[in-house]
Every structure is written in C-alpha cells, then in structure tokens.
C-alpha cells in the first residue's frame, strides 16, 4: 500500500452474468474488465479515456463502492472497497450524471437537503453548505425551481453539487459532459477544473481526447476492459514523435492497393474508415521517404483521389491505441 496513491487497482476483473427477461431468455456473460492495473496519485484530475463499452462506468462504480469486483484488489484512499465500504462512502463523491438520479418533483435545494442528511452533514452547517454549493455550480437563480424544469446542463450541475456537498476527498465523474450542449459542456469543464484547486482528487472518465487533454495532466486509456496506456499528456504527445499522417480519400480501394500502401517505407499503420461511398485511409508514417506524391503515384485510376498530409494529433494516438487493441 502506498499512502501517496488515491487509487490502487490490481488485476481487477469484473464479469456480468445477465439474462434477458425474468425466467426465460438467453444468458449472457460479459467480461467488462479484464485485469485492470492502475495507480492514481492524489490531488489532480486523472482522466480515464475510452470508447463506449470500454468499461469506464463499470470501473467507476467499483471504485465508488456501487459494484463489487469479481476478482482482484481495489484500494481507494488506502482502503479496500470491499471491506471498508462505509468508511469510504462518506469520503467519496460520485457523479453519474444524466437525466436520471434526481427527485424531479421537488426543487434543487430540497434534493440537496435530503442528501445532506443522508451524508450526516452537521445540521448547523447544512443550509449554509447547500447555499454554497448551489452558488458554486451557478444555480442560485434556479435553486427553488422544481428539477423537472431543469435543462440537461442544469441537471448536470446539480449532480455535481450533490457530489461535492459533503466535501469528499475524491470525486468520481463519469462522462460529465456527455449529452450536454457545447456551452454547458464548457461550463462543466470549467467547474471541474476549479474543484481541483481545493485539493480534491478527481477521477474523470470521457470518450473525448480533447476533454482529457484540456483537463487531465495524466490519462489512462481503457479499451475493451484493459488499460492500454497510462501516461502524461506530454508522454502521449511524445509518442507522436516524428510521425506524420497522410490521409487518402477515394470511392473505394482494392485490397492489393492497401497492401501496396502498407509496403511503403516507414508506414507503420493503415487504418480505414468509410463515409458513405467515400473511403478514407489514414497512414501513419515514420520516415520522410514516403510523401503524398509517392502515395499518389501508387494509386492510379482513381479520378476522385485526394491525398493530403496533416499533423498527427493526440486524437490519432488515442484511436491507434483503441484500434490496436481491437484487432
């Protein structure tokens, strides 16, 4: 056990057995997490990045005591999530977000008051604390309105207000900006950034690289239940190294054309993506020998061919990581 760590995960496996329907229906077995190893230090925003279905929510719920591991050990703030559940619950904040999870027929203040009591916030401090967090998330103007009148963005702010009400040492945010309009998403990110100033450790999941890049000094990439990278943003960026990216677009390619591209000097990867009838190939190139011109020369007979070079982005690195694992 390491005291500097907020989260320590060893060989975590989580499977789900589910049945569609009550008595009948097929039984399905899903391995959502397949041996996750993860260390997260205290007092910063840590980003867990991964596409839909990667296991982000599953991991978040295990870390916040809402789900038990199938095997492996998980420690949060130096305490075991299986054994020290009640100790941890008063020190953890969890924001699952979304349209659900709030009492819609009552106002924001009453929602918070209910949870303040469940968290045992001293009665003498309660009302002040509620006013404070409402202010914090910019909902003072709507605090006495029923939650059913709230927009998606306002609900998200209220979710966050509830998450920080009891001043947790660690806050889990599961895809805090998903489904929000760009303005609300920006405001939410600003809010998240301001929380870390107070020494709270934040564990945030997202499937947007730019969000992780904006908020998190360190990120782990989760793909199909496994951590495929755990690095600083700078570290991830350095993986781009001298890499260049060449994009080729046309109405369909033949297999041998793709093989020819793969055989070009310095080409480490060719990824394909379809946009309707249009096909885009993305080449990762490690040397200067291969240029848009050489690529063009290999693909005669495509009247609509377009070839261009662009800067390799973090998003590319992320997609590479996630796709490599997918094969």
């Amino acid at each position: 056990m390491n005291d500097d760590l907020a989260i320590e995960v060893r060989d975590l496996v989580r499977t789900f057995e589910s049945r569609k329907g009550f008595f009948f229906g097929e039984k399905t077995h899903t391995e959502a997490l397949k041996g996750v190893e993860l260390n997260v230090g205290r007092g910063a925003i840590f980003g867990l990045l991964g596409p839909n279905g990667a296991g982000k929510t599953t991991l978040t719920k295990i870390l916040s005591t809402l789900l038990l591991p199938t095997s492996g050990t998980v420690q949060v703030l130096g305490h075991d999530v299986v054994k020290d559940t009640s100790w941890l619950r008063s020190r953890i904040g969890l924001v699952l977000g979304g349209e659900r999870g709030l009492y819609n027929r009552i106002n924001a203040r009453e929602n918070l008051r209910y949870f303040a009591d469940l968290y045992g916030i001293p009665a003498s401090e309660r009302d002040r604390r509620i006013t404070e967090v409402i202010e914090r998330v910019d909902l003072t103007w709507a605090a006495d309105r029923r939650v059913e009148e709230y927009s998606r963005g306002m609900k998200q702010k209220l979710h966050i207000a509830r998450g920080i009400l009891h001043r947790p040492e660690i806050l889990f945010l599961d895809e805090p900006t998903i489904g929000l309009d760009p303005k609300s998403a920006r405001e939410t990110r600003k809010l998240v950034r301001s929380l870390v100033v107070e020494g709270v450790t934040i564990f945030l999941t997202t499937h947007y690289m730019f969000e992780a890049e904006e908020l998190c000094p360190r990120v782990a990439v989760l793909s199909k239940g496994k951590i495929v990278a755990n690095d600083s943003i700078a570290g991830l960026r350095s993986r781009v190294g001298g890499d260049r990216t060449i994009e080729v677009e046309a109405y369909g390619f033949e297999d041998r054309e793709i093989d020819r591209l793969k055989g070009l000097p310095g080409v480490s990867k060719v990824a394909g993506e379809a946009f309707g009838p249009l096909m885009r190939l993305t080449l990762r190139v490690r040397t200067d020998d291969t240029t848009p011109e050489t690529v063009q020369g290999l693909l005669p007979g495509h009247p609509e061919l377009s070839v261009r070079e662009r800067r390799t982005s973090l998003e590319d690195i992320y997609l590479d990581l996630v796709e490599e694992e997918a094969q």
Binding site: F16, E17, F22, T58, K61, S64, T65, L66, L67, L68, S86, W87, R89, S90, I92, L94, L96, G98, R100, G101, L102, Y103, N104, R105, I106, E110, R113, Y114, F115, D117, L118, Y119, G120, A123, R146, R162
Partner: protein, 268 residues
C-alpha cells in the same frame, strides 16, 4: 466516526426520508384521489357484505375494509417507494451515501403508516355514515391502540417488501402476485381460522396475523379466533415483529451485497 455521530445520522436519515416522502406527496397530491376513493368503495362494499351478520357486523365491515385500504398504503407503498427509486435512478446515489438504506426505508414507512391511518379513518366514517351510527365497541380505547399496532406490524412486512425491491426490479411482479394471497393469508379480509388448517402456521409467520386476531378479540365479543386469547396474540405479534426488526438490518446488508455483486442496482 464515533458510534454517537453515526447513530445520530441514522435518525437524521430517517427524518430526511420522512420529510422527502411528505414533500413528494405535496408536490403531487393527485394520488390523494385514489387513496380516498378506494377506502370509500371498500367501506361501502364491506358494509353491504357483512350487513345483517349479527350485532357486530359493523365492526367486521370496518375491520375488513380498513385493513384492505391500509394494506395498500402501508405495505404496498413501502415496497413501491424503493421501486420508484429504481425508476428515478435515485437508488444508486442513495445506496452510495454512508447511511444504511434501511433507515431511509423506515422514514417512508412512517409516512405510509400515517397515510394508511388516513385510509382507515375514511373507512370508519363511510361505514358509520352508511349505518347511521357508530359500531358497538366494548373497549374503544383498546380498539384504537390495537388498530395502530396492526399498522406497525403491517409496516414490518413493508420493510421486507422494500428489501425485495432493492434485490431486484422484478419485485413489483412478485408483490403483485403475492399481494392477494398474502392479504387473505394474514386474515385481513376474514379471520385466518376460517382458512384450511395448513395455511395457519404460514400465516403465523406474519406479524399482522397475530395483531389482527388480537384486534378482533377485543372488538367482537364471542370471537373465537385462534382460541388462545388476545393477550397471547399480542405477545405473538410483538415477538414476531421483534424478530423482523432484529433481522431487518442483516437482511438489508445482505441484499445490498447481493446487488453490488450482480450489478443489478441500476436496473429499472
């Protein structure tokens, strides 16, 4: 955390849950209509059903209809509230809070008991109005005390239903199927002793069976019941309710562990 503060927060959680139940009711008082209409209908039907059945038919009518409407409020309502938490998605944040969920359930049950008593009062008024006068009660005070006690025993079964709703989203299905059997089995509609003998031992596992038998003893002279007198009935009711109370905490802890294992907490 010291024991004192954690105990205090449990009481507060129960209080907060009672408060929430009232707020949610006030925010949506439309179900005041069914919860008033149902007792009126039950009262009238029961009045017609028992009319002319001896000098104490009014008491029979009140008890039959009263229990029927209180069943719905007290017992059914307790499980329903947890089902509602599933639907709203509030079950997860509530379980995630450090106070054991049982204390949240208790607050709602207190509210359901109050709502159930309201139904009982409506039945009483309807039957009295239909008959043109109040029933003959040998011991009105004891009647009221035992009536409230019956509510408490119903509430203790409500705790079990709430646990079932935490256990699975299919609890509503089970509760719907089980409702009628349970309703008859505990002697809500007519005395359990009228049922086939083999059902009696099962019925005795449920606190309301005992409490209702005691209530009939004190309000209907000549009532035979289980034959061991209302004192033993009362002792039995207290004992069985006590067992329920004693295991409630463990049941909830186990049920919670189970859903954390299966991952069914977010199902709705």
């Amino acid at each position: 955390m010291t024991l004192a503060t954690s105990e205090a927060s449990r009481t507060r959680a129960t209080g907060a849950s009672l408060r929430l139940a009232i707020l949610l009711f006030v925010a949506d008082p439309q179900w005041l209509v069914p919860s008033t209409v149902a007792p009126i209908v039950f009262g009238l039907v029961s009045f017609e059903l028992f009319r002319g059945e001896g000098p104490y038919f009014l008491t029979y009518a009140i008890l039959g209809a009263g229990m029927m409407s209180m069943w719905g409020q007290t017992l059914y309502g307790s499980g329903w509230a947890t089902g509602q938490d599933r639907n709203l998605g509030t079950l997860e944040p509530t379980i995630q809070a450090p106070t054991p969920y049982l204390y949240v359930v208790l607050g709602r049950i207190i509210w359901n008991v109050v709502a159930g008593l309201f139904g009982g009062l409506v039945v009483y008024l309807v039957v009295v109005l239909a008959a043109g006068g109040p029933p003959q009660l040998p011991n009105p005070l004891l009647f009221v005390v035992l009536f409230v006690f019956v509510m408490v025993t119903l509430a203790s079964v409500g705790v079990v239903f709430a646990a079932a709703f935490v256990y699975s989203r299919y609890a509503g299905f089970i509760q719907n199927v089980g409702e009628f059997a349970f309703y008859i089995g505990t002697g809500c509609m007519f005395p359990v002793v009228l049922l086939p003998f083999w059902t009696n031992p099962i019925a005795l596992l449920f606190p309301p069976t005992w409490a209702l038998d005691a209530l009939r003893y004190v309000s209907i002279p000549g009532y035979a019941g289980f034959g061991w007198g209302w004192g033993w009935d009362l002792a039995g009711a207290v004992a069985v309710t006590g067992v329920y109370a004693a295991i409630a905490g463990t049941v909830f802890t186990r049920v919670e562990r189970h859903v954390l294992e299966t991952g069914d907490l977010s199902d709705y």
